[in-house]
Amino acid sequence: MTDRRTLQMAFLKQARADWSAYQKTLHPSWPVCHRLHFLQMATEKLGKALLVGGKMSFERITGSHAAFVKFLRVASNNYNLHAKLGMNRSQLNVYFTQFLPIAHEIETLAPALAQDGPNPEYPWLDKRGQVYVPVDYSFPLTKLLQSPQGLHLVKYIRIFLVEFEKLF
């Protein structure tokens, strides 16, 4: 039977690969939808890697797309993060709370959570029946990611991915 650490590292490896692809799509020649797709996938797999550590069953983990926001809500319990960021639990809680709306927007890009609305993978219809194609759509999330909170959140996603073994 595969041990949890092996499984966790598998999700982490894939998350890092998605992050690497996200970095490449930051070049203006790439459509926004691809950039957001890879960002969403990196955070989803990061969330899954964290869930493996939390003893959730593999079957439930693979079916889940919503671990990243859940994790951010409780991340202030991680003392390694206190040391890394120089904040106590209370400060870290306030700090991470400001990221939740943007993290939620990233998470709900997953088609399974997008409720037939904007997502970076598949065309969708609005209530009037108008067709939208991800590659032509200007996602409002892009502006949120350029805000100070968005930039900080992306910075911490990178830290979580790069320093996962030390932090978690």
Binding site: G54, K55, M56, Y79, R89, S90
Partner: protein, 119 residues
């Protein structure tokens, strides 16, 4: 002092220590989060780790008990497993409609409400 007495006293001391750590942690959580309604301390049979299930109306509903691991540290010398669910999800857990993480059981647990913890 006999060996069995010593082992017994050590176990009692460990229980006391983990209980103090849990109570302090839960108190901090209630202080930090106004929407936290209850905390379920799930007491594992043998392992010296803390498992907490928090009932919080502000957490997103996912239909799962997503438990996260937090490694021990100088401040908290126990491994912590922490999950948040909505009040509706908690009712489903009680009806066995949502499974708990592997190794978790409600056979031995203690419920902390805000009234109990925050004066």
């Amino acid at each position: 002092m006999s060996c069995s007495q010593l082992i017994g006293e050590t176990a009692m001391s460990q229980n006391h220590n983990i209980e103090s750590a849990v109570e302090k942690l839960i108190h901090e959580h209630f202080e930090l989060d106004e929407s936290l309604e209850k905390v379920i301390w799930i007491k594992p049979a043998a392992t010296p780790e803390i498992q907490l299930l928090e009932i919080n109306a502000a957490t997103p509903a996912t239909g799962d008990v997503m438990s996260f691991y937090f490694p021990p540290s100088d401040e908290m010398p126990y491994s912590l497993f922490l999950a948040e669910v909505t009040p509706e999800e908690w009712q489903k857990v009680l009806r066995n409609e949502i499974p708990l993480p592997e190794g978790w059981s409600l056979e031995n647990h203690k419920v902390f409400s805000r009234e109990m913890v925050v004066a």
